[in-house]
Symmetry: D2
Subunit: 286 residues, 4 copies
């Protein structure tokens, strides 16, 4: 593909008011931008307006100046405004334990160009994926976690995330709960994959729960991590059909594909600045 | 289609033992039957064996005699045994309130020949579907239900079901809870459609619950009714994708299609003698 | 629901140019409209811009005047422009033969309020659905078609469509091919349901073709009818899983659900002014 | 899991005859086997019977002797009979070119224990995946193919397959057509993944064909390779939804997931001896 002119993506949300689309698109036009996509949604009951708008700018313009200027425009409209330069890849940390399917899947998709980000490091409480990380040229940090050492381990993780300027943590089947303090201190988005169709089967061993209940579909849910375990805003969900013939082991195997696909989709949407969080729910401009 | 020779379907379940398939198929062969389909499943953990076997019999044979004889065979093997003559249509009652989509769907499928049964009557706590029932030639029984009259209404329903020799009740969005006493006294299977992906969103107003939670898929669950509300053995489940754009009204609309399809599939499997209940779960030989 | 202020929906397409979104949304704002939804798409390769925009207008404004004014605005921008008053229900004719599942499905959805239209009449080359149509209060026109009488029959149909001011024909498994002359003379959209996943299995007896080929999924395709049989712009497609156990009759049964769902979705999108046709393909703003 | 007693899987097909199930299950019982699963299908139109039966044998028995004995039993019944010792892993060769997603997917699933086989070697007409193969400890054979060298290259491939005792070739997006002579000489199954919903879009560049046609779903098809290009017996197919927003590049990206999942499922079924080929179609006992 030929190199293309830089693009800017803005996400706005706030109280609905007349003429918002006109004001935003007028501002972009006057400042030399050309809208590529724009999508908006009004929550009629709550009276809230959501917009995602993506525009290309003239080759001569400075995208950083324009993002600052647009931020001011959004503020002046009284809207919560996030602006990003499309393709400005955030630095990402993958947290993983022993289950490696999501880990490999994320790395391979990243190498195939599916994720506009920089996978900067891997954090794990086990050494199993050290060699694999290094073979891909990704620094691997072994930080063991025990009941006693958990606070210390989180402090070490936080220092690392700060030092490495990480803008997104992906919990790729990381089998530790990140504490409210960790999430609060990190202050950046954290995406988790839970291996059930939430809110069903939250907590531990969801495939065992599903098998015991006799459901006919298993699911996976990618969501932003919040202090309430398995209760954060849902980004994406999918299901697969099972039958009485399937043992728990079969559910685990089928679930691996669900988890990989669901997490990867959520990560891609996040990296493409397609997600707005509102009222513990997500608006996904896909 | 040319008339075909009668068929017998048997469902067996019980403790696993060596040679069960050979014994059952040997018995059928020796008694002049020809196996059309046979399917079995072993729950390895529980050591339980499940089988569905369907066979055609010689034109000269009496299917009733053979079902009795096979019943004895199954008993002698120590297996729980149900035998049915394929195509011997059970008499069915539809319970419905005001929502009519499942009602119309069931009737039209039945008229199209999808259900091997006799829809013998409709019971409703409202008069809305009286004309529609009658236009299809199906007796309609208006039995209003209030908190005070519930016991009396159920007694009236039970008398009707007994008098009409009903072998299956379908709750096609019947907005009353059938009491444990009703279910126990009726003693025949009752299939209910719940408008969520159980165990998520059991109870009232599941679409409102789903909307509030921000899930990305809505579901429907067809299950046998038991005294524990929304906790009976699940027969079939399906889901549909929704987005932040969808209001509760959209969920209700999309859900109608899910409910129709899910209930119809469960009813067809039941009528084709494909379902075994075990440990509050179902084995569906599809 | 409370009565809501009138809404206008516009569909625009044409060569891309800078500031289109700003110009359109600015016009709407200046004319007292409030954008509810707006969605646009650019075909990067072809340099073509597509937009759907829906806005509410002040109670005092006259929606007809505004549609005329916007039409002029779109024309002045050099865009192909269609404007409709949301909720202004077009008059629809259903063409059907003997298979009745799509017919019943359309009527029941319409009665449930899913389709913003007026089903004005039914045309059939058989009498089978005469009573059903009349029971719903819909005029039924029996127009038999033979090889010899086809031209005459089409003339009769066209006169009827014109006289009844029909804006959409739905071919709900109408087993006759509408001639190029018919389609050209009618001049309004015609939606057909084909019972395969086009372009596979075009033409006659697609379920038999699918069975013979041994495919593992069957499909249905809703498309606008054009003079090239089964080659018109595809609106919607869906599939269902089949197995070697399924006979052609099973495919027909499963296909009925596919056909109903796929046709209904296409019709709803059409009636909600969500479809733009371009280059024998559709842009669906869903 | 505890070590389990050896199992035998037999696939039988042939003209239907009375008592087949009884004869087969009786033989197994008399020879000390215990049936774990048995599934059969009758093609009513063609009068052909298909069966898959899997049984465990006593620890003292020799599975090889029993397979020979059962082979003789099947022959005496006039049935085409294949018998395999479950878990006796065939040796597999992966053929691949530059697209590496199916390659990585197959290797990772194999390492995760999803495939009961031995991936013995990789053959490629490019050197791209040499390092990756070797890092997994799998011998890599670079065999370039040009128009002129094709016959020679195939001779080299065939020698390799014979020498390494390969029982299955997987074409994991191998961008060369294997000649009829190759397939005939190899004489063992070859599974190919085609990136469309066959029979639609056979041949080259199916995603471009799909984009040009404006279909709303893309597909993938895993099938046995035969001398007729893209016409071999279909094992598995799946689809994914696309929209007008998707460019050809998006189709390629979405298609990668489809191709991986569809090929992996077909390979697993094959390795579990679940597939019977008949009349250029497959019977899959899943």
């Amino acid at each position: 593909m030929a190199p293309r002119s830089p693009r800017i993506v803005a996400l706005l949300s706030g109280p609905d008011q007349k003429g918002l689309v006109a004001k935003v698109s007028g501002w972009i036009f006057e400042n030399g931008g050309n809208i590529i996509h724009a999508d908006q949604h009004r929550d009629q009951e709550a009276g809230v307006f959501f917009q995602r708008v993506e525009w290309s700018i003239d080759d001569g313009s400075d995208p950083r100046e324009m993002t600052s200027a647009f931020q001011a425009c959004g503020d002046s409209l009284g809207m919560k405004t996030q602006v990003a330069i499309s393709g400005q890849a955030p630095r990402v940390a993958i947290f993983v334990s022993k289950f490696d399917h999501c880990f490999h899947d994320l790395i391979l998709r990243w190498k195939a160009g599916e994720f506009p980000c920089e996978i900067a490091l891997v954090v794990s409480n086990h050494r199993n994926l050290e060699a694999a990380s290094k073979s891909h040229g990704i620094p691997f940090h072994y930080i063991p976690v025990t009941k006693e050492s958990k606070a210390e381990a989180e402090a070490q993780q936080l220092a690392l995330l700060k030092q490495e300027d990480i803008g997104l943590v992906i919990m790729a089947r990381y089998m530790q709960i990140l504490s409210p303090i960790f999430l609060d201190t990190f202050g950046q988005p954290t995406i988790n994959i839970h291996h059930s169709f939430l809110p069903a089967f939250a907590g531990a061993r969801p495939y065992h729960q599903a098998h015991a209940k006799g459901v006919k579909l298993i699911g996976a849910t990618a969501h932003y991590a919040t202090p309430d375990l398995d209760q954060g805003p849902i980004i994406h969900q999918d299901v697969a059909r099972i039958s009485h013939r399937n043992s728990v082991e079969d559910l685990v195997r089928k679930g691996r594909d669900l988890e990989k696909m669901t997490l990867a989709q959520a990560v891609r949407w996040h990296l493409e600045n397609r997600i707005l969080v509102y009222d513990n729910k997500t608006v996904v401009f896909d």
